[in-house]
Amino acid sequence: MRWKFFIPFLIVVGVVTIFNILFLDVVLKKALVSSGEAVFGAKVEVGQLKTRFSDLSITIKNLAVANRDDVWKNLFETEKISFSMKPLPLLSAKFNIKEMSIEGMKFGSPRKTSGALPPKKLKKLEKKSADDKDGFFSKIMASLYEKGKSQVASLPVADNIAEARKGLDKISSDFVKLDDLETPKEIEKFRNATTEKYTRNETLVKNLRVSERIQPISSAFKEASGLKLSTIEDVKAAAPTLEKLKNTLPEGNKLIQDITTAKEQILSDFGSTADVLKQIDEMKKRDIDRLSQKLKLPTMPKVNIAEALFGGVWISRYNKTIYYIALARKYMPARKKSEEEKIIVKRLKGRDIYFPHPAAPPKFLIEKISISGVVGDINFSGVIKDITNDPALLGRPTTVNIAGTAGRRSLLINGVLDHTSEIPRDTLSVSYKGLEGSALGISDINSDYLPSFEKSSAGILAEGSFVGDEINGKVSIVTKGLKVRDVPSGDEVRKIMADVWKGIDSISVVALLTSKKGEDVRFSVSSDADKILQDRISRIFGEKVAEARRKIEQQVSQLVDGKKNEALKEFETKKKAVTDEIASKESEARAQVEQAKAKVTEIENKIKEIEEREKSRLNEEKKKAEEQLKKQGGEKLEDLKKNLFK
């Protein structure tokens, strides 16, 4: 044994230890920066780090963590962090802090230098985190990222209206050419058909030979009209004439029947003017539709204003929240169900196996963090309790309670990260009232197609629950005080959008996110303004499209209506000619037949009258004769009686 080296050894160890103690601040600062960069993926800057051995305290001043998504801003910064470690656990390499204080915390403050890590370092960190890519939360974030990319950043409906506007402008005075139209050709065909019908039906009328068939009736009538009926002898003489007249009646009825049939046929053949008009108008409509297609007037878009305005930004906020929950679960893991109760964490080139003892404190624990800072102009303060690497050993969940107010504005954050059992349960609730509309992160907030959010204020209530692999998130946003922007003259699309927004001075939006293992992420954003805007845009859009169609209609009408009117006139004239002709034939035939019928009736009545008269005369004579006979008989009887009893 080289005992003489014992003292030099002690000296060397002492020097090294003192050296480490003297430069502990530097070493710790370096460790803080490198671990912070590994966790946040962006630059971490520490203004000052001081250790004090007397109470094992550490004070960190001006800590700034850059935002990796916006490298010219800080994710957060703090003025001062101070805490002391418990001495006994420290001897066992356990970092237990009873109380930590974080003062002057700010979020999103601007940076003077970029917070991006050097590419080499970033690549190294990304390589490390590549192992986590198959994790459940990573997949959710990837899925949400893809959804975010496909979310429309600008209002599609404004583009559609602009397209419609362009389409409208394409309609010059000679946009519609006669050769493009089918209607004039159809009208010509129609005219030819009308002529054919006219000819056909004229022939039909001629073939009825009405005058020819009426002639026997009228001559029999004439004859019958010449009859003198006063005596019974006249009746006997009139009988053949009457019979002749009667015989013409069936033929007359048949003629009327034929005429009626022909009339129906003619009317059916020609059809109604209304039908013809309808036909021509349909042809016109088809031409207009075809020309409208040529213009490529866009179809009415479905409006989801909420999705367009808020979708992208809230997807990214949901993504960030999921990222930090995943981070919390990584560094404060729930106790895994395995035969080993050891926590296994990849460290250095191998794995750290922890051997927690129920009576011993966890490797890392902060019992209480008193936090204070400012968000916007809200001074907030709160407490975060029980941050540890072994929640199951500690037996208590991590809780977050932060609150702040400033006049009308208020902020309230409550959260519980319960990883004490196998299934981690994380709940978070954030309420922010009086947020400026411009801070909502609305895409294209200065877009000319949106109302102004400058003087608006918003209230946000965000609630999320992460139980195992299930996520349920809901964000409700109410924005009030929207103002329609002034529109410069001449910009029709902006005017249209301003009309659409008129009267809407507040929007309520709900963004929902649900996800379960094995199912696709479901994200939706909806607002109460969507229906109102949809109706208004439908109306305006419809008006624009209708206006375009009207222009086309106008031009088509100009080219077509003249021909249409001519064709209709010709149709009506020819139809009238034929129908008038057959009507006159019909009335002539009916008149003759009625006349004949009337004559027959007259003659028959007259005959009946004469016969009645004769009959009555005969009856009277008979009666008289009977009476006379009776009288004579009576007288004779009397005489007989007299003679009998003389």
Binding site: M1, R2, W3, F5, F6, P8, F9, V12, V13, V16, N20, L88, L91, S92, A93, K94, E340, K342, I344, R347, L348, K349, G350, R351, D352, I353, Y354, F355, P356, H357, A360
Partner: protein
Amino acid sequence: MFWLKILKKILTILHSEISPLEIAAGFALGAFMGLPPSNFVNYIVVFFFIMMLKVNVAAAFLGSGIFALLSILTDPLADKIGYFFLVRLEFLKNFWTWLYNIPIIPFTRFNNTVMLGSFIIAALLFIPTVIIVKKFVLYYRANLRQKVEKWKIMKLFNLSKFYSIYDNVNQ
């Protein structure tokens, strides 16, 4: 230049009059510093043993350097061995738990699989390393030393001066 320094160190030790056993033991002890990942407490403990025991310090540091290079190859195996001892051997669980929860010991990072595995590999390799290195030193001094002394590089190193300084220090 780094390799030149290593070569210089090796030749210095080989061409000195230091006991082969001391050289071998020192070299083998260097494995306890070189194979495991860097850890201050481990270094202090191993360095203590190196300083206190009658082993060659230079050989120890040389061994530490060479085994550090070899650790690239042995780390995966060390991880497996460490995992086996820390996790699979259930009867050791209480021992590890006791060790993990007493002061100072956790600073050795014994609960890291590569750390413990590397220590076990260094321990397993200790005797074979001592035997091999001792045999090599003896062989070198008997058969190769004089040839190598004639190399130009030896003149460059100016080793004769170093020999005397080295001998004095070791004695």
